[in-house]
Amino acid sequence: MEVIKKGSDNVSEVGPLGCCFPVGTENLRIR
């Protein structure tokens, strides 16, 4: 088993966070 990205119960560590809906797009903030 190889851990590519470590998971966490702590939201501040799981990122990337942000107004980023829907998943797959970068964000809604681009004009």
Binding site: M1, E2, V3, I4, K5, K6, G7, S8, D9, N10, V11, S12, V14, G15, P16, L17, G18, C19, C20, F21, P22, V23, G24, T25, E26, N27, L28, R29, I30, R31
Partner: protein
């Protein structure tokens, strides 16, 4: 013990008999072989025993349903109330005015010649400092935005100068970025901004010359592409520059041509990162926001939507070894439902929590003239759309019941589900592969 219901499998990747396993709650990504996969399916075996601690730590295996439900609740509690652990990011609009006329501009209905004045920018400074002190914030990042923010540069300098000065004295990290159409950014301006904390400039380019000039002309219809490229050349060695762009079916195929052109001009590998996103619908006229415009753009989430386009742009960037801002596997941390997070202040000093609601005062959550948010802030904060999600949906932590703006566009309220499970089913396995490629190649 049981397998987490938030596990997603990608089979036979990156090679035959290897599997990627992604957990949407913990965001763990692991690679396993056939034997461990079979052990996991049967919840027994020597390989499972050997890796049990790591599988639990990464949330792939949980004790029982009750433990998983508690962890999910805690996940949403953290998202809502502990955003102060993250960088405090505030967007500031120096103006609603713009020297471009982009067809799809989400501020089309609210674009006005309103500029942030000195009194308001002083109040912004005070509001930010009060907020930071009250919440004991350690990192502050400002994003200047508009309209076109560089039509009104005084607040950018004033606010940043004061915030940088205060941050130095208070032991707080401070920096800022500017999101601009690229028509007014010059080396001497960058020098001036660098002295007060500028970290990054993000310029919007919508494809090659032809596609961009069609989408993003000056207000008088004149083309803007060549000027923007020249301006980027003037600043690229001084500051990080990122390129973002908007696409639909028409201009999407021109993005690789833009990348070719940037390469030919010696810019491609000097740019910091790239972010391209589908054009989204916008609220209707000021007096009737629910009469949405560009509603056909919502179709990129439907059966025949822009899945392949979204993915092919990411693959194109990865193929060229360019930096993606994200692979796309992000948690939709909606600022509307997060305490303090994602604040945007408009030129009048009104505070919003979603940029797509800018300019509609009925959706504002406060005013820099008052230290506390208004009632609307609490109404948004108390929305828990994820509570209505089907229990068997593995995407709940990433999606949280969907974008609140989309809920408004579809249901005329902010609290219902805006379920896009079909979209997730189609795109997520591919995003997991991209995430794997990104992490293993950029390591």
């Amino acid at each position: 013990m049981k397998l987490s219901r938030f596990n997603l499998w990608v089979e036979n990747y990156p090679e035959q008999s290897k599997y990627l396993l992604f957990n949407t709650r913990t965001q763990a990504l692991i690679k396993i072989d056939q034997e461990l996969k079979e052990n996991l399916e049967q919840l027994s075996g020597s390989k499972l025993k050997e890796n049990l601690d790591a599988l639990r730590e990464n949330g792939i295996i949980v004790k029982d349903e009750e433990e998983e439900n508690l962890k999910l609740k805690d996940f949403f509690r953290q998202l809502k109330y502990e955003s102060d652990k993250l960088t405090f990011e505030t967007t500031i609009l120096t103006t609603y005015s713009c020297n471009f006329k982009c067809d799809y501009c989400f501020e089309e209905s609210v674009r006005e010649k309103i500029f942030m004045d000195k009194d308001t920018s002083d109040l912004v400074i005070q509001w930010l400092i009060n907020r930071a002190e009250k919440r004991n914030l350690k990192k502050i990042y400002l994003v200047y935005y508009g309209g076109e923010p560089l039509l009104n540069i005084r607040p950018i300098y004033d606010i940043s100068w004061h915030m940088q000065d205060w941050a130095r004295k208070s032991g707080v990290d401070f920096a800022f970025g500017v999101i601009t159409n690229g028509s007014l950014i010059y080396p001497d301006l960058v020098d001036k901004f660098l002295s007060v904390g500028l970290k990054e400039v993000r310029v919007t380019i919508d494809g090659d010359r032809e596609a961009h000039n069609k989408n993003r002309p000056f207000s008088d219809g004149q083309p803007s592409f060549d000027l923007i490229i020249n301006n980027i050349k003037g600043i690229i060695d001084k500051v990080k520059v990122a390129v973002a762009g908007n696409f639909d079916r028409e201009n999407f195929s021109s993005i690789p041509r833009l990348l070719d052109y940037l390469d030919k001009e010696g810019l491609l590998y000097k740019l910091d990162y790239f972010a391209f996103a589908p054009i989204v619908p916008r609220l209707g006229p000021k007096e009737n926001p629910s009469a949405i415009e560009l509603s056909h753009c919502l179709s990129f989430l439907e059966k025949d939507g822009l899945f392949n386009e979204v993915l092919s742009i990411k693959r194109e960037l990865l193929k060229r070894k360019l930096k993606l801002r994200t692979s796309g596997l992000a948690v939709n941390a909606c600022p509307l439902t997060m305490q303090d997070a994602g604040v945007t202040i408009d030129p009048k000093g009104l505070i919003y929590k979603c940029n797509s609601l800018l300019g509609y005062p009925e959706f504002s959550v406060g005013d820099v003239r008052n230290e506390e948010f208004n009632q609307k802030h609490d109404q948004f904060l108390n929305i828990d759309a994820w509570d209505k999600c089907p229990a068997d949906c593995p995407y709940v932590p990433m999606c949280q019941g969907g974008c609140r703006l989309f809920s408004y566009l579809e249901n005329k309220n902010f609290s219902d589900l805006s379920c896009k499970r079909g979209y997730f089913d189609r795109i997520t396995p591919e995003l997991i592969k991209l995430e794997y490629e990104k992490l293993t190649k950029q390591a």
